[in-house]
Symmetry: C2
Subunit: 143 residues, 2 copies
């Protein structure tokens, strides 16, 4: 397919698709007239790229871990230099730390939201039960 269709199917601007190519994340073929030609599998790849970028990873890192995420579980022994392995292990640790941090933040945010909603429900019940008038700014503490 050409860039327009890929753009529509991935929700990614043509500009960005060219940018990802410039960054070495996708390597389309070329039609005789110079138009880029993409295979079906590129759709998934682009979505994967978007997801990783959206998660805060820079293209440099995406480029490194992308080959590991391919479907056919292909292992390129040429990639098995000690430096590459060290980089990948480092990146795995970074991802783990990132996941942990985000999970903690998400959980804290969820707890806060629960408390907020629970408190609002209580307040609404009080309200319905008759305590009238404009309530002053209030705070609640949960130990």
């Amino acid at each position: 397919m050409r860039i327009g269709e890929l753009s529509e199917r991935t929700g990614t601007s043509r500009r960005l698709l060219r940018y990802y190519e410039e960054q070495g994340l996708i390597v389309p073929g070329r039609a005789p007239n110079g138009y880029r030609e993409y295979g079906e599998e590129v759709v998934d790849r682009v979505l994967q790229i978007r997801a990783l970028l959206d998660a805060g990873l820079p293209t440099r890192i995406v480029r490194q871990i992308l080959p590991c995420l391919g479907k056919p579980r292909t292992i390129h022994f040429s990639d098995a230099t000690p430096e590459t392995i060290a980089t990948l292990e480092q990146e795995r640790e970074r991802l783990t730390r990132r996941v942990d941090c985000l999970t903690r933040s998400r959980d804290a945010l969820a707890d806060y939201l629960d408390a907020l909603l629970g408190a609002r429900r209580s307040a609404a019940q009080e309200e319905a039960a008759g305590s009238s008038g404009a309530a002053p700014a209030r705070e609640a503490h949960r130990g």
Copy 2:
């Protein structure tokens, strides 16, 4: 403490500490001579900020979810407007998607690394067992 000490204790440049202040993420006091004055609790706060930014969240979002992550679990009812709640819920979803994506990527990367290391060990054993000569570029498939 002043900005230099905070910088050392958090591994964050002075420039960035001032930037976080400009973004409303931290609000130091001021000494009579104009120097910024930080309390102990700011150390943790800065580390939290770094972690969130490092995980790919923009300061705008960090500013919004930071109050939810404080120790004393204080709920500010003034924040309980429907818009704020909607934003927080949206951000919780975004965080969840982000965590899922990163977790999948991390797991895939870990699998790849395991396969790579396992294969390298096998290759080393073969090598030790006598198959000699420069091995050509090889690939292995795991279904």
